[in-house]
Amino acid sequence: MNLIIVSCFFSIWVLIVAAYAFLNLNKAKNPVRFFINYGWVAKWNMFVPDYNKYINQYHGYAILYRDIQISGSNSKIGQWEKITSWNWKPNMFIINTRGRLIGFNTFISRKLIALNILGKKDLSHADSFKFLCRVVCDIPPSTSANFRQVKFEHIQNKKAEILAQSEFIPLK
């Protein structure tokens, strides 16, 4: 009896995993959503840059920030700096956060580009961009800057289009 119950349990699990991996069940309202939200299924489409038009990594992107020093009526605005590897050198392969932070960049970027493709023009107030700005502001400033501005660019055919740009965010 136990064997039958466990067999059924495993079979149903395999069917759900296979259905999510091979069928287009990524829509917001479907029964599989529960398994997605709790981390039971994966699409297994890592490193497939042209998986679909919304998450096409060929839509290049750039996350940039610049530091601003404002004291009294004087302000000194720094150069835009591009975030590449989150200032983390992969010197230890056992404990290395670089891959995860690149994953964070990719996740946020895909969301912003997808929103843009779906027609949303002002992305400065999108949750993804707000989250990105907060994390980018944790990168220590190189000078004694007290504000930081973040922007997200969408790059197509070597032309960069600004999708979102923050206000001057005070650095803590």
């Binding site: 136990n2 064997l3 466990v6 067999s7 495993f10 699990w13 395999v14 995993v17 296979a18 991996a21 091979f22 959503r33 939200n37 709790y38 981390g39 039971w40 299924v41 994966a42 699409k43 297994w44 489409n45 890592m46 490193f47 497939v48 840059p49 042209d50 998986y51 990594q57 060929y58 983390w88 992969p90 392969f93 056992i94 404990i95 290395n96 956060t97 670089r98 891959g99 995860r100 932070l101 690149i102 994953g103 964070f104 996740f107 946020i108 949750d127 707000k130 989250f131 907060r134 994390v135 502001c137 944790d138 990168i139």
Partner: protein, 257 residues
């Protein structure tokens, strides 16, 4: 290897990975505190029916959960090494992982579903203590591993970028840190061959239980593949989970032949 040893090895390897991923998440939370502090509860990421677990994925609960996850991963690793595994502790780890999942899903977490397969199969083995169920669990792990590889290969087959080698070239640029565009463009033919090699390995992995020669070939290729991604590209989150499933493949191959 006996069934007991196979499951122990699976858990030991998987929880080295779980411990590592938790340490990495803690490092990220320390270096970039806003990653943990940004409130997710009222964002578009969280559905209404999920808000009840905001205590777990929003600050400060997510920090508490992170520490609990680290302790549990260490305890399970210890239990695995000293043959003290307990299904309740394993399931507790899964519950903690599920509660905090919305936060961790921003980082790369594609290995989590396979990790859950390993944990649940081991819990069922420990709970029932029945030889047939335990063997079924190892088949279940093997099938899930094959599904993961096959799906990854299948999506690559459908991708024009993988078929023409552009995806490998882009991967080398982004992850292997080869920034010389001339070199990348000049060797398109080789990127294409490497791409086909990866697809062939992923799609054909289910053949690994068809005899010792195929088993050794596929497991060696898999080990080199994941080790390369870990050491050269810093993509270390797949390594432990996928390698942890290999003892199940070895056992299933031995059981069949």
């Amino acid at each position: 290897m006996t069934i007991e040893q196979t499951y122990r090895l699976i858990i030991i390897i998987a929880f080295i990975g779980a411990f590592q991923s938790t340490v990495e998440n803690i490092i990220i939370a320390i270096k970039y505190p806003s990653f943990n502090k940004f409130p997710l509860k009222n964002t578009s990421y969280i559905a209404n029916y999920e808000k009840w677990r905001a205590f777990a994925f929003d600050y400060p609960g997510n920090w508490v959960l992170l520490i609990i996850r680290l302790i549990l991963a260490g305890v399970i690793l210890f239990m695995g090494v000293f043959n003290l595994l307990n299904p309740i502790v394993l399931l507790l780890f899964v519950i903690v992982d599920m509660l905090g999942f919305p936060r961790w899903s921003f980082l790369s977490i594609s290995d989590i579903p396979l990790q859950r397969v390993l944990i649940i199969a081991t819990s069922i083995h420990l709970f029932f203590n029945d030889n047939q169920i335990s063997i079924l669990g190892l088949f279940f792990i093997y099938i899930n591993l094959c599904l993961a590889y096959f799906a990854a290969g299948w999506h690559k087959i459908k991708s024009p970028a993988w078929r023409n080698g552009a995806a490998i070239s882009k991967f080398c640029f982004s992850y292997v840190n080869i920034k010389n565009q001339d070199f990348l463009n000049r060797n398109k033919r080789y990127w294409k061959y490497i791409g086909f090699g990866v697809i062939l390995f992923e799609v054909g992995f289910f053949l690994s239980i068809c005899g010792n020669e195929l088993l050794h070939t596929f497991l060696l290729c898999g080990f080199i593949f994941h080790a390369f991604l870990t050491i050269r590209c810093g993509i270390n989150f797949f390594f432990w989970t996928f390698i942890a499933a290999y003892p199940a493949v070895i056992y299933v191959n031995g059981w069949l032949f």
